[in-house]
Structure formats: C-alpha cells, structure tokens
Symmetry: C2
Subunit: 157 residues, 2 copies
Amino acid sequence: MKKIKVVKKQILQRKGDLHSKSYKVESGLLRSYTIDDKGKEHIFMFGPEGWIVTDYVSPNEPCELYIDAIEDSVIVPIEKTSSQDIDLKKFIKRIRVLQNRVIMLMSASAVDRYEHFISTYPNIIQRAPQHMIASYLGITPEALSTLKSQRLRSKKK
Amino acid sequence: MKKIKVVKKQILQRKGDLHSKSYKVESGLLRSYTIDDKGKEHIFMFGPEGWIVTDYVSPNEPCELYIDAIEDSVIVPIEKTSSQDIDLKKFIKRIRVLQNRVIMLMSASAVDRYEHFISTYPNIIQRAPQHMIASYLGITPEALSTLKSQRLRSKKK
DNA sequence: TAAATTTCTTAATCTACATTAATGTATAAA
DNA sequence: TTTATACATTAATGTAGATTAAGAAATTTA
C-alpha cells in the first residue's frame, strides 16, 4: 500500500505490457487510452482523485490500454490478484459508467455527448486539454471546437 | 435456482423497472437494449447460452435497459444481492467485452466493427436478424446491407 | 393456402463529422 | 526575451453513414 508520485506525462503502462495493475488515484489526474493503427489516440477513461484506473484484462494477459498522468499525481498501485478486497459497489459503479459510455456512443450525437460530459465531469473539462476531451467523446479537436462556438452563440439571446 | 422458460419476444425487464435481476442463459438467446428519444433501439449486448445478461445498475436503482428473448430460451434469474457467489473471472471477462466495445465504437469503421463481430460471435450472426446486428454495431440496417454486398463483391476475384 | 406482417435490399439524396490547411494563441524551452 | 513547440480556432472540402422511399423476400398468422 505505498503511495507513488508521478509527474505529468509519465507513462504507467503501455499496451502489450504484462503484469498490469490497477491504480488508485489519491490526487491528480490519470487517463487510459488506446492508439489505433493510424496512430490516433482514443481516451478510454479519465481517472481523477478517488477513482481507480484499470485495464480490464486478466492479470496474466498483455495490456490493451496505455495509462499515463495528465497532471502530477499521487497514486497507489494495486495488484489485481488480490481479488478479495474488491469493493463490489464501487466496481459496479464503474461498470455503469462504461455501460453509459457505450449507450452514449451508440445513440447520442456529438453535441449531446459533450453536454452529458460537462454535466457529469464538470471539473475534468477544466483540467484536461480540449483535444483529450474530444478524444474521449470520439470526435476530432476541430469538431469539438466548432461545436463549442456554436453552443456559445445559441446560448446568448 | 429455478429455471424459467421464456418464449421469443418475451420481455424480462423494462427500462425504469425496479428490482432488476441478472439472467443466466441455459439455452436460447437474450438481448439487452435501450430505446432512445426517437424510438430507436440500440442493442447493448447479446446473451447466448452460457452468458449472464445484466443491467449494470445497483439492485435498488431503476433499470437502464430493456431485456427480452430473441429465441425461446431457458434462463435462471439471479438476485443481484447475492454478491458472494460472483465468479470474478467471468465478471472481468464480461467487462473486457464492454471495454473492447467502447474501443471499437471509438476507433473502428462500420466495416471493421462488422468484421470483428463475425469473427467474435459467428453463431449470433446466424441467429439474430440483421437489423439487430446493425443495432449492435451502431449503424442502420440499410448501411449493414450495403456494407455486406460490397464485402461480398470484393471477396470474389 | 393466402394474406399480413416483418425483414432485407437497392438506390438517391442529405448531413454530421472528418480531413486538410492556414492562422492564432498559449506554454515551455533556449 | 526570443524562439520553438504544443494547443486551439476557423473555414473549405470530402466522405461515411443516415434518411427516405419503394420493392422483393421471408416469416408469421389466419
């Protein structure tokens, strides 16, 4: 149960690595993401303080995701083998986020996904750069930028 | 632990229902899905024999998903409260499917998602109607249809 | 069996978002 | 402070997949 300090941009895990761990975030902000064959990053999840960031693969399988720090952070690495001490309620909560994510990606437009994101994670909007928000939403930074200015224009009467 | 027979099209759970359960599929095929504000269905997961179909909400929260039978099926309803008897390995496997789903939806084209689907769930292709496959892939039935005939044409030399 | 309903295909048109590219603005490094 | 690098905006053009519509197959029901 030792805490570790990591600096911004520090990589904790790469795709293909073995012995993947979970990371409890004490302070700061992590992210997990994939890189597709065209070299494009796709953010899977943000991990602000209080969250646990995991790649959902079995402890002996190679990782699917990259994990790195968006801000200087303090984290606690957790061995996945210690399956005992899993807080099931928290676990289900995190899966629910995933479930919502899939539903969102399938049924909502980019604007709706953005609206949903800012109401669900207002503080992350402030802390992560735009292109990462875009990456999480599944759109390009350019699309997010135009979407935002259209939103602004329509809000002032 | 009693088995229940359900017939094709029988609805097991509606969005908003309380006391959501998990359903172990002994035989047949279930699906879970949402209906968006335009009345469009979006299939979240298929549940063939051996699978457990769940809406990932806490047992006391209202459901997010509809669950019904695509084929006549035999199922075992499981109370969610019995958190003890959860097979963690199977649980993680199912989350992994979800993780892959998100990654796919974010980074792959409709064709690639379809290719991935047929190689991962070859038997479901045969058993579920096309429009449901389309719904799972996040495209329209028309798009899937054209995509399929293009694929066929390009395969014969 | 026929009739009704559901499912699948094909084609024309439309639209949300991607791509490309050029310009502007921060942040970090020298 | 200047220069370089990363990040954000805006606009023009392109494209995957949506929508619409109409007909053909298949499946269900009577």
